[in-house]
């Protein structure tokens, strides 16, 4: 039996409080990093729901998507459009195809 990771979930979460204000992709030129922050950051930055779930599944060192160097573009597209585990899928209104390509490009930049 794995030990629940309480600390990650219940440590004081400051990272998100200013996130949305800094995450307008239009203001940042619509680049992948800004789009990731705007469309995915609420769940996939530090202390977000997605990061907490990934920390539990893969370990804290692989919880933050923005720091991963093992993501594959096709895999990212698939998870966004098909969902994964308890992560709901996103529509093309939530994240249009062009935005998804920019996000995917940025997430896979380290490969």
């Amino acid at each position: 039996m794995a030990e629940p990771r309480y600390a990650l979930v219940f440590s004081v979460a400051l990272a998100l409080s200013g996130l949305a204000a800094a995450a307008d992709p239009a203001a940042s030129g619509g680049n992948g990093e800004a789009l990731f922050a705007a469309r995915c950051g609420a769940c996939h930055f530090e202390e977000g729901m997605g990061s907490n779930v990934l920390a539990k599944r893969l370990g804290p060192e692989r919880a933050l998507l923005a720091q991963r160097d093992d993501l594959n573009a096709e895999y990212v597209r698939l998870v966004v459009r098909r969902g994964m585990g308890m992560m709901p899928f996103l529509t093309r209104v939530d994240v249009p195809d062009a935005e998804l390509e920019a996000i995917t490009g940025w997430l896979t930049r380290q490969r």
Binding site: V9, A20, A21, A42, E47, T91, P96
Partner: protein
């Protein structure tokens, strides 16, 4: 997801309708591929996703485009299912009640039209999420707080239209609605309340207008597509104080609800406190497999052992006071005095002052979060959840039997009990979460059976739900049965008068237009 056509519509007729929609919104915003259909299904569906299958989605960018779509839907006899952002997770997401309906996704209509800091309101379109609104408030340094629910990803307007609630004194989100713009089922456009005056300056400060007030007609309803709403907001408080404790026994919920109800009625507390059982916290930080290797739910004694070790108690009580510090301190003393009649357990007091951080795990400080959705990970696999939510009088003689009965039913059907009570003065809304692994067919079957029996039990005891997942919209409507369902008959008379072709959200909350009435319970 394969195409399921609307009832009685041929494939060529459907294609003609899609072509007509494309001429309104452009090719890009008619979403009718198999992959698109999947993204508009229920992500937490308790069963196959095609049980509530969308045929397509269309995403207008303006009220005029909504009007054009509605007129075309009448012409082509296409049933529509409007969603604000489609994130009504646990209640069906964006998926329609009638398979083959076309989802009208209002997510592109995401303008924040006005925020009035002095009078405390905003005017927004349905595509604005709680995160979007927070970003606007932060960017513009506006000293207003929104009230947030458990899913900040969702729509501010959509949540209020489905009678969602949050955790601040503005937590009754429907009550914050003041003035709407609505496209009627024939494509006509109205503005409610004072907004019915051309150039009105008091649309969003006075709720009733002149003559009958219509706003509630468009809440949990299929009588129109709401394209703009005024929402009242709370002036940012200068300070706040949280009083927290963890009462140890399940039976404590009786005196807790009664005590808080009386404090709320007397104005000592002005939020509607949310009292979850400790399993709610456990389900966020762990999965069943962390505590239990065997089949079935985690045994009660193992849960009790865990709560003891973590000093969690049975219930989590957090009473938050807002405003001037001298006033919150005085109110805190009255609360402590009232609680001392039932327990010698002290409150843990956590003060907050304007400028301090507002952590995302505490929605009573009005910061959008999606963290509560983590509970869907409890059972593992493709997780999902349902919410069973009867409304009770805030008395121990109502709350205690409901608590005991539901807890036993959870065990009987193989689930850990996860109940909560939100006390808003005279009522205690008893939200019960059922989490399941969508890949486990037996668990999904048991979750559905549990929902059915909880609905029947509550009905026998004289209670009904305030909101329901697509799969139970008819069953819950059945329980509102005075005078042979007279209220539903009225709802359907109004439906047929306003929407003679039955194109708008057929089956929403159990109200079926005559054109599709044979699909009730289908």
């Amino acid at each position: 997801m394969k195409l399921q056509l609307p009832p009685g519509i041929s494939a060529p007729a459907f294609e003609r309708a899609m072509a007509a929609f494309r001429r309104v919104v452009g090719d890009e915003w008619v979403l009718d591929s198999d992959a698109d259909r999947h993204t508009y299904s229920d992500p937490y569906a308790p069963g196959p996703e095609d049980e509530w299958a969308p045929a397509a989605a269309v995403a207008p960018a303006s009220t005029e485009e909504v009007q054009a779509i509605v007129r075309l839907a009448n012409e082509h006899r296409i049933p529509l299912w409007p969603v604000s952002r489609g994130k009504n997770l646990g209640y069906g997401g964006a998926a329609p009640r009638l398979p083959g309906s076309v989802v009208v996704d209002l997510g592109r209509m995401n303008r924040i039209l006005e925020v009035d800091e002095q009078l405390g309101y905003c005017v927004i379109e349905p595509g604005v999420s709680f995160y979007d609104l927070q970003a606007y408030l932060d960017d513009n340094k506006i000293k207003l707080w929104q009230s947030v629910p458990g899913n900040g990803w969702g729509s501010v307007v959509g949540n209020a239209l489905d009678r969602g609630f949050g955790y601040t004194p503005y937590g009754d989100h429907t009550a914050n609605i003041c003035g709407m713009e609505v496209v009627l089922p024939d494509g006509d456009l109205i503005r409610t309340g004072m907004g019915a005056i051309e150039g009105s300056r008091s649309w969003h400060v006075h709720k009733y207008g002149y003559g009958p007030a219509w706003d509630q007609l468009f809440v949990q309803s299929s009588y129109g597509i709401v394209t703009r709403v005024g929402m009242w907001m709370m002036p940012a408080p200068e300070s706040s104080l949280l009083l927290a404790m963890n009462p140890p026994k399940g039976e404590d919920i009786g005196w807790l609800v009664e005590t808080i109800s009386q404090l709320r009625l007397r104005g000592v507390i002005d939020q509607s406190p949310f009292l979850p059982c400790s399993f709610g916290k456990l389900s966020l930080i762990a999965q069943r497999a962390d505590l239990h290797d065997g089949p079935g739910p985690v045994p009660e004694e193992k849960l009790a052992e865990f709560y003891e070790k973590e000093k969690l108690g049975f219930w989590i009580v957090g009473l938050r006071l807002y405003g001037d510090e001298s006033v919150t301190r005085a109110r805190a003393e009255l609360i402590k005095k009232a609680f001392a009649r039932h327990t010698d357990m002290p409150f843990h007091e956590i003060p907050w002052t304007a400028g301090d951080p507002r952590p995302i795990y505490d929605p009573s400080l009005a910061v959008p979060t999606a963290m509560p959705l983590q509970m869907s990970n409890w059972a593992g696999g493709r997780g999902g959840h349902l919410s069973f939510s009867p409304v009770l009088p805030a008395t121990s003689k109502d709350v205690l039997p409901q608590f005991h009965r539901s807890r036993e039913r959870y065990r009987e059907f193989g689930f850990e009990y996860y109940g909560s009570f939100t006390v808003s003065g005279r009522t205690a809304t008893n939200i019960n979460m059922i989490m399941y692994n969508r890949d486990d067919a037996d668990e999904v079957r048991r979750a559905r059976a549990l929902f059915d029996v909880l609905t029947e039990d509550a009905h026998k005891a004289g209670y009904g739900e305030y909101r329901a997942h697509l799969g139970w919209m008819d069953k819950v409507a059945d329980t509102f049965d005075f005078n042979n369902h007279a209220l539903r008959r009225l709802g359907e008379k109004v439906k047929d008068a306003l929407d003679p072709n039955g194109i708008l959200a057929p089956g929403k909350q159990g109200i079926w237009p005559s054109t599709y009435r044979s699909h009730r319970h289908g």
